[in-house]
Symmetry: C2
Subunit: 246 residues, 2 copies
DNA sequence: CTATAAGTGTGCTCAAAGTTACAGAGTTTG
DNA sequence: CAAACTCTGTAACTTTGAGCACACTTATAG
């Protein structure tokens, strides 16, 4: 599965209105973008990556920064025993922030990033990045904000791993997804969910089944349906211990 | 134990040579500092905090950034069941990077920071921070580097928690400490070590005892002595499963 | 020099998570 | 439709980590 990160298309970007279109739906950056920031984005190249492209891994050096325009990139850590754990996702309007480590520190980085869908992104060179960081207040704030937000998320990950039982972590994950999805079914297999949370397929199956018995959710092949928001909330708050062996 | 974060002393700083003295031993920042950066530091106030001062916690808002000059600050997360887990330490020449979250995002942050020793630090106001970030390449790079380094450390924490057995995590921690200490004994109680790694005193006692039986270390009240670097390395690489129940 | 506190060792029990193994259900493909 | 594959359910078992209880040791304070 080690598809190399070769861009499918690679074209200079058209004038500003095109750029606006690309970023139209992602206000996070737009609201902070100033002239310098736009200038940088104008110079950026739009690359397209196929789904499942490995965008960086253990030893790959990454000399560029990318702003995702379409699709999502999953950043994760894998273990030698075949387990893995999602650290976060980079979504449209967001920066592949871990590239920064490479960019700023020059250090390689023992994690992987992989396109989940087909991904389009604006690729910014190292020098352009530093240049704009110096000139554009908006871009600088945007980058800082991204970094500190990721930091905050990672701290939450840590505390979940250190202190929370797996069933709670799964319940919280479900809650967050259903929230995002406005209650619509989540398309994911148990094994994938295991990879999200750094655990095994069997544990996920067992715990989800338990939730189904508690009537929070309804399971079907490849997807999870919300049954009762309220019950799920209770479960995710730790009320009612697990019932697996009762 | 909720000593409020009240500075003990609070004086305007003397001219540049004094500043140089304060930071003399911490080249990380010095080598990047330029005129703007120095100007900011000149304006900073030197505060002193007693050991054990809680520097920020769950709901405290923090409107300043601090550069630690002397002493160390431990940043950790605690659980409702009385366990806790060290996220990282801020040492001389380093920034209290989590303040940045507050500073940049304005969000409060569910972690604690506490002075381990008496701490002196240069306190920089929010506006001065942003101002210098815009003007000083050196400072900006320094901040970015700090952030990305913390990010990298947190990722390692996550993968340790998710994938490694406790004995390995303890062995690695010991290794790192002995490295720092040039092989000299580490002064720490089992309970404190538990708080470092998010586990309990008993587990630490048991596992350390096991290591002692393996002749890596020698235990005594309140400190851990290195016995055989090589054996410890083997243990920390996962060779030789635990012997506790054999 | 005692009393008290802090730190350590350890056995027992239990719960959580992971592992192995396999059966069966649902999909896809030729 | 039959074969091959993917996904799910689950039982039995092992390992890891936590919690409790208590004995014992070392340090500190009065």
């Amino acid at each position: 599965m080690s598809t190399l990160a070769t861009p499918v298309a690679n074209l200079h970007i058209a004038p500003s209105d095109k750029l606006h279109d690309l970023l139209a739906d992602y206000p996070d950056l737009l609201e902070q973008a100033d002239a310098h920031c736009w200038a940088m984005l104008e110079m950026a190249k739009l690359h397209t990556f196929d789904a499942n492209t490995v965008m960086f891994s253990e030893n790959m050096e990454c000399k560029h920064l990318m702003l995702v325009v379409e699709g999502t990139v999953r950043v994760f850590k894998d273990s030698d025993e075949g387990r893995e754990m999602t650290l976060y996702r980079v979504e449209p309007g967001e920066l592949c922030i871990h590239n920064l480590n490479n960019l700023v520190n020059g250090m390689p980085y023992p994690i992987m990033a992989q396109a989940e869908t087909s991904v389009r992104g604006l690729v910014i060179s190292r020098t352009e990045f530093h240049n704009t960081m110096s000139k554009s207040d908006g871009f600088r704030n945007y980058v800082l904000r991204s970094l500190t937000e990721r930091l905050a998320n990672l701290v939450n990950l840590v505390s979940g791993l250190a202190f929370d039982r797996l069933d709670l972590r799964i319940a919280c994950w479900l809650q967050a997804q259903f929230e995002r999805n406005c209650g619509r079914a989540i398309a994911i297999t148990h094994s994938e969910l295991g990879h999200e949370l750094g655990t095994t397929r069997e544990m996920v199956s067992r715990i989800l089944k338990d939730f189904e018995h508690k009537r929070c959710i309804k399971l079907s092949r490849g997807s999870i349906h919300l049954n009762c928001k309220h019950t799920l909330k209770l479960v995710s708050q730790g009320k009612g211990k697990r019932t697996t062996r009762a």
